[in-house]
Amino acid sequence: MNAPPKLDGSDTPPPASGRVPTQARVLRKLFLTLFLRGRTSRGLQRSGAPGSIGRKLFLTLLIYALFGCFGATFAGRPVFALSLYLHAITLMFLGMFVAASAGEVLFNREEGDILLHRPVHPRTLLWAKVGVLVEVSLWLAVALNLATFVVGCFAPDGGWRFLPVHAVSVALEALFCAGSVVLAYQLCLRWFGRERLEGLMTTAQVLLAVVAVAGGQVVPQLLMRQGRHVHLTSDHLWMAALPPAWFAGLDDALAGSAARSSWALAAMAFVATGGVAWLAFGRLSNQYGAGLMALAEAKAPRTPKGGRRWLHSLVEIPPLSWWLRKPVERASFLLTAAYLLRDRDMKLRLYPALAPMVIMPVIFLMRDAGGGTGAFGVAFAGSYLALLPLLSLELIEYSQHWQASDLFRAAPVSGPAPFCNGSRRAVLLLLTVPAILVATLITGVLTRDPARLVLLIPGILALPVYAMIPCVRGRAVPLCRPTEEAKSARRALTPIVVMLLAGVLSGLAAWAWSGGWLASFLAVELLLVVLTYGLLRSIAARARWSPME
């Protein structure tokens, strides 16, 4: 240890002389770096971290760009119809992204100890964060719209002007989306007070994301059904109630039909975006500092005593006490259940991601009700529901508290299997069973032929097998990975492959139903499910801990 450095005035750095970047610039760079690298990366070397996260981001953008290619099916449609579809999809994806990211970016509890005692005005902090949210939203929006920029240029009433105009409308939409989410947070803070801030933020964020997903999936379906009877033009009064129509109006006004109604919608886009931005980033931004302080002083939310008793009593009585008779599995069940019900980060990642899994079956059933998909739609709705535990288990692995999972490895247990089993059972009981009940109810209401309900069975029958898949590689250990890894696009590969298999199964089931041999099909499927489940379970039981990095 050398002599302490002299910090008296003689070698004090001169304040604000020379080239010093502004605080806003420094903070924007900081938050962008944190967004790209993640907030925690214990054990990573510098060379490894940014590159790998950069690759993940590139993959994400690539997937967005590929998904955007679906817009090519709108080739030949007028600019307004094409733009309406594009902006609806863009708003859904951006809404999901901003709602899921905003909580961590805007109100990060750990950040308080690092930044709150620095001489930074809360407004500067807020603007830097919003800048990053808007910037990343723009990347995603551009990737999503990449293919359709070209499609729009060749629309019957389009032209080269579609390119710059659509770029502007997408940028405006990204600003509107980020502003709306920030505004929702600010209003929660203003109306409901500091004590309830965190709980309300979580609820608001989950609802925003679920509404974005539901809206993004259901509205295009409704539009398509409407589209059979009416042309999608800006003339309809109800278009004014749809935010995507405002931005589509801007495209149509400047690069399409230039109808008067499109100009009105375009004006709404500017007014709404300006109003939201003014409120969220200007007028209410002073509340932001108070919000950060509220987080710093907020204690851990108290668990309602009744709720806790309910959860713990539940596992004490049969049949759950039989199902969870092994203590490690029971502890893992309770841990997973607690995080599913209480943890803010978990709720924000899990429920918006699961929303499409519950909504998509409804979409299939809506199509069925309209005579669109027939037996396959109902069968695939069942398969979709059966994928719920697979997706949930893949997400429950990630937590901000992942370092605490070292405890599992220190416990005298030979491998991860009991932890996986407890977590799997929590997901089956607390998420899957309610989702199936709700979906069955909706199916009963929507389907024209109640006898078709039986087609849900083949999908649901395969559910135990799907739920075992993450456990096979010992990956379904709850809360054991940092949340940054959840951003990896590679993570989606297993669900996609299983979804394809589920599609094949649904096709076979629909064929069997139409051929009148569904009962035989179910018998064979049941046999295969029992055998596969047994095999997967024995493999999972032999899984060992993956080496710690």
Partner: protein
């Protein structure tokens, strides 16, 4: 330099800091002591602008915490007990970011960082090659201390600064805060390591349940209460008696 007038903080119905009144001049090292939950960290968080006081006033270097929080923060260095850093930045990226927030030019910041590196026996490569998430707890603590002192603040608050530091670094740190005090800075040092406080601090403030219990020179306080050591005084005033007996009873009953 630091002035508190009936500073109070309530969380709902619970009073964490209760009408604390203090004056701390420059050049003094003040040990801020108290049992867990006594209100030490809450007080430090209020004085660094991280929490808003419920009642009372506080000024630092003449600036009021309520009306000029940014000016107060410019004059304050804070080492929080959490030792929180942005783990996905390298040490150098982190320190340069902090320096830029205080408008310190890059070349001056580098010079200052190198001074601290030399003091803490850290290599520049360590600071550039590894992300902070890969640092040991002690190394991370050194970075946090450096980040708190980079802008040469006249007032420094340390909350459990020795946590994670090895014996050599701890000795060096004690020398550092004595040097800082000689330069005229006001140092507030919150810790549970009482023997270090006893040796380093000119003055001790003991709080419990948010209230001030005693305030004075460590030797004078120990003598006035006939306690022998600061540790015994602490136990005597915070009412934690019979600890050894309780430990023995616990060990006897805690047999599986």
């Amino acid at each position: 330099m630091i002035s508190l007038q009936r500073l109070t903080k309530r969380f709902g119905g619970q009073t964490a800091v209760d009408a604390l009144t203090l004056e701390i001049p420059g050049g003094q090292i003040v040990g801020f002591l108290g049992p867990n939950g006594a209100g030490k960290t809450t007080t430090l968080r209020m004085l660094t602008g991280m929490l808003e006081p419920t009642e009372g006033t506080a000024t630092i270097c003449g600036f009021d915490l309520r009306t000029d929080p940014v000016e107060v923060k410019r004059r304050v260095g804070f080492v929080p007990d959490s030792g929180a850093v942005f783990e996905s930045l390298t040490g150098l990226e982190y320190l340069e970011m902090v320096a830029a927030l205080y408008a310190i030019p890059a070349d001056a910041a580098r010079t200052r960082i190198r001074q601290f590196l030399a003091f803490f026996d850290l290599s520049f490569e360590t600071l550039t090659d590894k992300l902070l998430g890969a640092y040991s707890k002690g190394m991370r603590r050194k970075v946090v201390i450096t980040a708190a002192l980079l802008h040469n603040p006249p007032v420094v608050f340390f909350d459990e600064p020795l946590d994670g530091l090895d014996a050599n670094a701890a000795v060096g740190f004690k020398a550092l805060i004595q040097t800082l005090a000689q330069e005229g800075k006001a140092i507030v040092y919150s810790s549970h390591v009482l023997d270090v406080v006893e040796r380093v601090c000119d003055r001790v403030i003991l709080v419990d349940k948010g209230r001030l219990l005693v305030d004075g020179r460590p030797d004078a306080l120990v003598a006035a209460h006939g306690a022998g050591t600061l540790e015994k005084l602490f136990i005597q005033l915070t009412g934690a008696s019979g600890l050894e007996q309780r430990a023995q009873d616990f060990a006897r009953t805690f047999r599986p």
